[in-house]
C-alpha cells in the first residue's frame, strides 16, 4: 500500500458510458496483484471529498489502468480529466484473487458489466486458461472481450436484450457448463465480479455444484484502508458471524464465508 501522485497518461472513452484511464505510478504498478483496487482522489471535485475505489484493470511497466463507468459526480469529473493531469492514488489495496496453478482447477470467470475489468489481470496471470462468462444489459456493456480472447481465454457473452451473444443472464451459460455431463470429470473453480445479485446467484450455483468460488464484493467505501468500517459485509466466524471489511479482508471473499441472510 502506497500513496502516490499519479500522472494521467491517457483517459479515453471505451464504449458508451465506459472509460479507460491509464495512470503512470511507477512505485505502485509492480506491486499490483489480481483483484486488488486503487483508491483515487479525483482532484477537481471540490466539495465531494472522499476518494473513489476502482478495480485495477491492466498493468504495464510503470503504469496501470482502470476501466470505469460514469455513474455519478466522481466518475463524471474523472472522465473529464486529461492526459498530463494528476491524481492522488492509494494502491494497491485489498486482498485479491488466488491465482490458479498450472494443472489445477479450471478457472471459470463470471463478470457482470465493468466487473469484467477486475478479472483481466487474473486471466492474464493464470497459467491455467479457462472460460470467461460475461453478462450485461446490452451490447455496450460487454467490455474487453477481445483482450481476453487475445490471451487465450474462451469468452461466452450474454446480454439481457440479446443484442450480443446469448440472450439472458450470465448465470445461464455458466450453469450449462457446470451441468454439462461431459464436464463432470472437470475440476472447476469460479471467480466472479459484478453486481451483488449476480454474486449471490454465483454463490448459490457454486454451493449446489460443490464448486469453490471467490467473489469480489462491490461495497460502498470510504477510507479504503480499514479504519472507517463503512464497507463491511457479514462473514462467518467460528460460532456466528461478524462484519469484515471489503477494503481489507476483501474485496475477494470465499463464497462459502459470506452470510447472505444478514446482508441488506
Amino acid at each position: 500500500m502506497l500513496e502516490q501522485t499519479a500522472h494521467i497518461v491517457s483517459n479515453e472513452r471505451d464504449t458508451d458510458f465506459y472509460f479507460r484511464i491509464v495512470l503512470h505510478a511507477p512505485q505502485i504498478a509492480p506491486l499490483i496483484q489480481p483483484g486488488q483496487f486503487a483508491h483515487v482522489r479525483v482532484t477537481p471535485l471540490k466539495d465531494a471529498l472522499l476518494r473513489r475505489p476502482f478495480s485495477i484493470f491492466q498493468v504495464a511497466g510503470d503504469a496501470f489502468s482502470i476501466l470505469y463507468k460514469t455513474v455519478g459526480k466522481g466518475t463524471d469529473a474523472l472522465s473529464r480529466m486529461r492526459a498530463g493531469e494528476e491524481l492522488s492514488v492509494i494502491a494497491p489495496l485489498g486482498h485479491g484473487f488466488t491465482v490458479p496453478k498450472s494443472g489445477g482447477e479450471i478457472p471459470l470467470l463470471v463478470a457482470g458489466g465493468y466487473g469484467m475489468a477486475a478479472m483481466f489481470l487474473l486471466a492474464q496471470r493464470s497459467p491455467q486458461k479457462g472460460i470467461v462468462f460475461v453478462g450485461g444489459r446490452k451490447r455496450v456493456d460487454i467490455l474487453c472481450e477481445k483482450e481476453f480472447a487475445a490471451i487465450g481465454w474462451e469468452v461466452r457473452a450474454t446480454t439481457e436484450d440479446g443484442s450480443h451473444g446469448e440472450r439472458g443472464l450470465v448465470t445461464q451459460p455458466l450453469l450449462a457448463e457446470i451441468r454439462n455431463p461431459k464436464s463432470e470429470i472437470r475440476n472447476y473453480k469460479l471467480f466472479a465480479c459484478g453486481p451483488t445479485p449476480m454474486l449471490k446467484a454465483v454463490a448459490k450455483i457454486a454451493e449446489e455444484a460443490s464448486v469453490p468460488a471467490e467473489l469480489s464484493m462491490d461495497e460502498h467505501m470510504c477510507c479504503g484502508v480499514g479504519v472507517c468500517l463503512t464497507c463491511v459485509i457479514p462473514v462467518k466466524t467460528g460460532d456466528g458471524w461478524e462484519y469484515q471489511r471489503t477494503c481489507t479482508e476483501g474485496p475477494v471473499f470465499d463464497a462459502r464465508q459470506i452470510v447472505w441472510e444478514a446482508t441488506k
Binding site: L2, L49, L50, S88, V225, V227, V232, K264
Partner: protein
C-alpha cells in the same frame, strides 16, 4: 521553538492528534504515515465487550463532509489489548484510548481495565456518539449523567481523562464546567452533529441507521465556536476538532482556545493531513515569530 503541549499529565510533542474513529487502532495508517511524528494516536471507541456495529450503508458523502452511523463496531477491551495494544505500546508517542459504555459502571470498569494495563497515555470518555441507542450522547447531553460518568471514571483511574463533548446541547458552557468539576483533565470538542440525508429516487434515508453524525469541513465553523464558548467557561485544556483539513484550520481552533487539535474525517481522504498540519503550524510560528505554541491558545482578538 516549542510545539509540545500538556493535556493533564500527558505531554504531547506537538499539539496534533487524530480524532477517534477516523484512525482505526493506529496500525492501519502506519504504512502510509510515520505515527511517531504525531502528538498522540487516538484510537476508535472501545467498550467492555465486542460490538458488531450497525447494518449498512453506514456512511454517505454530503457537501463538504460525510455522515456516519458505524455503531461503534469494535473488539472490546480484551480483543483490543490482544490484537492492537502490542503495536501501539511499541510507538514512541502516547496512545489516547477512547472508551464508552452503556452504564456509568461500564465506563468505570473499562477505565479500570486500561488503568491496570499500564502505558496508556490518556483515556477519552466518549459521551457523545449519536449513533447508538444506549450510551454515548445519552450521557453527554444530560448534566447529571455527565457528572456521574466523569466522577466514576475519575475514581477508577489516575490516567489523564479527556471528556469528548457532544455538540448537541443548547449551550456547551455548563456541560464543560460539569466535566471539569467532576474531575476531567481536559475536554475534546467536538463530536459529530446529528444529521440525515435522503436518496430522493428511492425515498429512503442514505444510512441504514436513518440518521447519523455529520463531520468534515462542513462543521468546522460551528466547532470553532463551541471551542470558543467552552474555553471561556473552563480552565482545563481543550482538544479542538471538527473538519480540520490543514494548518490554517488547526490554528483557528488554537486561537479559539484549544491547546491541541485532532484531524478527523480528512484522514479518510488524505492520510498525510496530520503531518501536513504539524508542518504548517511550525511554518506559521516561524513566520509569526512565535516561540511557544501555547501563545496561540485563546489568542483570538475579539475586542475592537
Amino acid at each position: 521553538m516549542n510545539l509540545s503541549v500538556k493535556i493533564g499529565k500527558l505531554t504531547m510533542q506537538n499539539p496534533v492528534t487524530v480524532a477517534s474513529g477516523t484512525f482505526g487502532y493506529g496500525a492501519e495508517y502506519s504504512r502510509l504515515i510515520d505515527l511517531n511524528l504525531l502528538g498522540a494516536v487516538t484510537v476508535k471507541g472501545i467498550r467492555l465487550n465486542p460490538v458488531r456495529g450497525n447494518t449498512t450503508p453506514r456512511t454517505a458523502e454530503v457537501a463538504s463532509g460525510m455522515l456516519n452511523a458505524i455503531g461503534l463496531q469494535g473488539p472490546g477491551v480484551d480483543g483490543f489489548i490482544k490484537k492492537y495494544w502490542p503495536f501501539l505500546k511499541s510507538l514512541k508517542v502516547p496512545t489516547i484510548i477512547n472508551i464508552w459504555g452503556t452504564t456509568v459502571e461500564e465506563y468505570a470498569e473499562v477505565a479500570r481495565r486500561f488503568d491496570a494495563l499500564g502505558g496508556v497515555g490518556a483515556l477519552e470518555l466518549n459521551v457523545s456518539c449519536p449513533n447508538i441507542k444506549e450510551g454515548g450522547a445519552q450521557f453527554g447531553t444530560d448534566l447529571k449523567l455527565l457528572a456521574q460518568v466523569v466522577a466514576a471514571c475519575r475514581k477508577a483511574t489516575r490516567l489523564p481523562l479527556i471528556t469528548k463533548m457532544s455538540p448537541n446541547v443548547v449551550s456547551i458552557a455548563p456541560f464543560a464546567r460539569a466535566a471539569e468539576d467532576a474531575g476531567s483533565d481536559a475536554l475534546a470538542i467536538t463530536n459529530s452533529y446529528p444529521a440525515m440525508a435522503i436518496d430522493i429516487e428511492t425515498r429512503k434515508p442514505k444510512l441504514a441507521n436513518v440518521t447519523g453524525g455529520l463531520t468534515g469541513p462542513a462543521i468546522k465553523p460551528i466547532a470553532v465556536k463551541l471551542v470558543w464558548d467552552a474555553a471561556r467557561a473552563v480552565k482545563i485544556p481543550i482538544i479542538g476538532m471538527g473538519g480540520i483539513q490543514n494548518a490554517d484550520d488547526a490554528i483557528e481552533f488554537l486561537m479559539a482556545g484549544a491547546t491541541a487539535v485532532a484531524v478527523g474525517t480528512a484522514n479518510f481522504y488524505e492520510p498525510q493531513t496530520p503531518l501536513q498540519v504539524i508542518a504548517g503550524i511550525r511554518e506559521f510560528m516561524e513566520r509569526e515569530k512565535i516561540r511557544d505554541i501555547r501563545e496561540l491558545t485563546g489568542s483570538v482578538q475579539t475586542k475592537k
